[in-house]
Assembly symmetry: D2
Homo-oligomer: 278 residues x 4
Amino acid sequence: MSKYRVLIDANDEKGLVYKVSTVFYNNDLNILSNSEFVDKENNKFFMRSVVDGDIEYSKLEKLLSDVLPSNATVEVIAPKKKNIIIMATKEMHALGDILIRHEDGELEANILAVISNYDDLASFVAKFDIPFVTISHVDLDRAEHETKILECLAGFKDIDYIVLAKYMRILTPRFVEVYEDRIINIHHSFLPAFIGANPYKQAYDRGVKIIGATSHFVNNNLDEGPIIAQEVIHVDHAYGWKDMQRSGKDVEKVVLSRALKLALEDRIFVYANKTVIF
Amino acid sequence: MSKYRVLIDANDEKGLVYKVSTVFYNNDLNILSNSEFVDKENNKFFMRSVVDGDIEYSKLEKLLSDVLPSNATVEVIAPKKKNIIIMATKEMHALGDILIRHEDGELEANILAVISNYDDLASFVAKFDIPFVTISHVDLDRAEHETKILECLAGFKDIDYIVLAKYMRILTPRFVEVYEDRIINIHHSFLPAFIGANPYKQAYDRGVKIIGATSHFVNNNLDEGPIIAQEVIHVDHAYGWKDMQRSGKDVEKVVLSRALKLALEDRIFVYANKTVIF
Amino acid sequence: MSKYRVLIDANDEKGLVYKVSTVFYNNDLNILSNSEFVDKENNKFFMRSVVDGDIEYSKLEKLLSDVLPSNATVEVIAPKKKNIIIMATKEMHALGDILIRHEDGELEANILAVISNYDDLASFVAKFDIPFVTISHVDLDRAEHETKILECLAGFKDIDYIVLAKYMRILTPRFVEVYEDRIINIHHSFLPAFIGANPYKQAYDRGVKIIGATSHFVNNNLDEGPIIAQEVIHVDHAYGWKDMQRSGKDVEKVVLSRALKLALEDRIFVYANKTVIF
Amino acid sequence: MSKYRVLIDANDEKGLVYKVSTVFYNNDLNILSNSEFVDKENNKFFMRSVVDGDIEYSKLEKLLSDVLPSNATVEVIAPKKKNIIIMATKEMHALGDILIRHEDGELEANILAVISNYDDLASFVAKFDIPFVTISHVDLDRAEHETKILECLAGFKDIDYIVLAKYMRILTPRFVEVYEDRIINIHHSFLPAFIGANPYKQAYDRGVKIIGATSHFVNNNLDEGPIIAQEVIHVDHAYGWKDMQRSGKDVEKVVLSRALKLALEDRIFVYANKTVIF
């Protein structure tokens, strides 16, 4: 008995659920859960099923592809630990939250390494027996620094996701293209408010009564990639911007870990610079 | 072209989605939305679909019943305004919220009447051109009072839901049985905390930091029916119990209106003293 | 025995609390509640006390002014109903929430009139026995229309606050200056995200997972006045922008009513385009 | 220049703020923040001030005691790291969150040791260079086991707080009395709902739509001590009780860390089985 996650997106048309469920039925598969969504505006159909039964995943993928229209994308995934790289700079809270969850067996992930442009976090990461790589940006231009990181990453095989756990440098299109829809960032504001540097200072100056954090896939426009998860907390006039920053940490770590888990469980579809999440 | 809500519950077995989607496909119905849930513990399957196409609803119901196992319940509903009765006592906020939404065209409902054991709200309800019936409990025992209400209700035909918008009297089993799973109550606490009288006073005495409200179907155990919706707000030491009561009103009205809308849109399944909500 | 709200702001310096509490003590006033805040960055002190005792409010104001530095502002307010004007366009939900609260005796306010540029809401407002004034903008340029509104407002005396309950036209500096820090608006987004027209459409296009509403005083930059209150709700991919708009209404009305109550209870200080709220 | 936290509680009477602020003024102390609360029902006054200036803390305490009524309690505290013991059983999430915050320099605390009745967490705690003590309860009755823990605790001096980070055994009155109002527990439900064992199972069986966690001081009635902090998350029918348990962990750790920080910053007054929190 194998258990699979089946992810399908296609242009919407009548009969898609019928066709998929016919394949499941004819192959004696049991549906454990089933989620569908039709985006009427864009005429797009999305479906995520979890099934179990006696079938090879490649065979199931072929059977589904055969009955579905040629525009459909079908993925059949056997749940297993995904390989992730974490990139950080100096802050410990978001990284630490992921490391504890990993240690606690809560994440379907192997953490291959933590990469940072500083070595501040080296001894902290070492506690968890995870490789730590410092790739300093000092005396390098952005392209040179990124080349070094890309070379480092090339040394790991089958990276599923790169998690930016408060990595405080901008990635260029060259980098982003290599890992399209696979780089998960945490931005310390309720996007699209306060794009760019020091959002807590911006929030303080504007006098907001709520602050937030946003986890999103990275694309080539700063802080404009598809949003995966957002959360907020209330603040008041007594919060200086450093108080906002301190309180904001708790939201950042929660939101980043939530987004990472959604990705590891194959729950996210990306299209039209948005996410569909089952 | 007609639009239908299809509600199915059944013991779980392989092929249910296949069978339902085959009926939809063979009858050229378009699936606008589809939600499924399997309760593994109780081996129960729930499905709600919204479809449109050219078919009589009774024919669709028959076709589905024919392919589904005999334990299945199938309902095909053509969306239309449901008939509701509101029962209240003296408080205006929850009743007022429903009346405004009704006035604003937001509810799929005809409000047949507001019934109260006092006449305090009579002139308020009159503003909205809705019949107001006072059925005083004074000088009557509980059974006599309830008999009068039941007689009044018998004068309205096709009552879909009775909404208790802070109706402050307990209904007996005799009443509840007549309208099983059709009486929606708002209880002014986060159930199951603070069952019974004056929950804000109880919450204050206990020193809680959060208060809430719960909307539920009424069954024969006080405040123990299937929960539909809950919401909370934060409080602190500066809240006396009357402050909690005042702030709690805002939660009560939101939660009751939310539950009512779920019911009017046929989104609620009841079983095992719980709700499945799509 | 009289009860007063005492509002003080001043440049921060040692001894302010001492001086104020000395006046209270020497005049045998009882402090019912006391809130203070020092904004260290701007070196500003804010205090709101509620006291009761036997003293004329003008005498108390004088005594406090005498001991406080000349830069201080002192207000002693005897709680009473404030006079408000509501401006609306066509939407009922935010207006309706205020009218119900008013009807329920929950607001310390007299509603002098509702003014709209359409007559859609006339019969609704009439239910509540509140004057409704239609001032159409048709065939008028912005200045002419505003002149008519200002003339109408001049006919009411002692307007404390103007509440824009989804009034969908921009006010010019000429208007805003007349009622500085006294016009309370509800903007249907989590400011500063989605300034301007159709914020729900903007939010939908951006693919956010949270939407919100912001109540603020109106100044001369669109949607950039001092924020009084904000609230949010979670949404997901299944929300089209009209669903966001529909769900957003519930947040809008809650936030506007909350801001209005804070104003009516003299709990808001405005400075540096922000609010301090006790 | 020294910085002090001044905590005062007393029976309420006129002039308390005046007397305290007079002492501050006469000794040239600067008030950095000031919070007061009067519980009218119980006629109790609470005040927390943060001041700085040139004075010995014992002298300040004496000056305040001299002017305040004899029923008043005055504490002047020079902020410094407090000594805490963490007790845990097998779960890592709440403990891990505290250890990361400690590592990150976010807590005003020295963690003297982690004590557990199992050794499952030993290697985890060792990563953080914090002493781990296993005191097994196997083959011991409750009194014998507790005696061993009390003996262990007696070996540490100046324990300020004992934090029960999912310590899954009940403490007896003998233990609680030694550390009255100094033992901080996290209960994995929204108290007072679901007191006792397996609250997530209880919540699942009841069909709630919200689950929560409660941090409280431990007294001699199970789960009935003064509540410090509470938080909730929404759940739906798709959550089995193990899903609730998993999601609940994120609330538990947040609430416990929040309560701990409030205690470390001397922000909590306990009285009448409740807390006043500034």
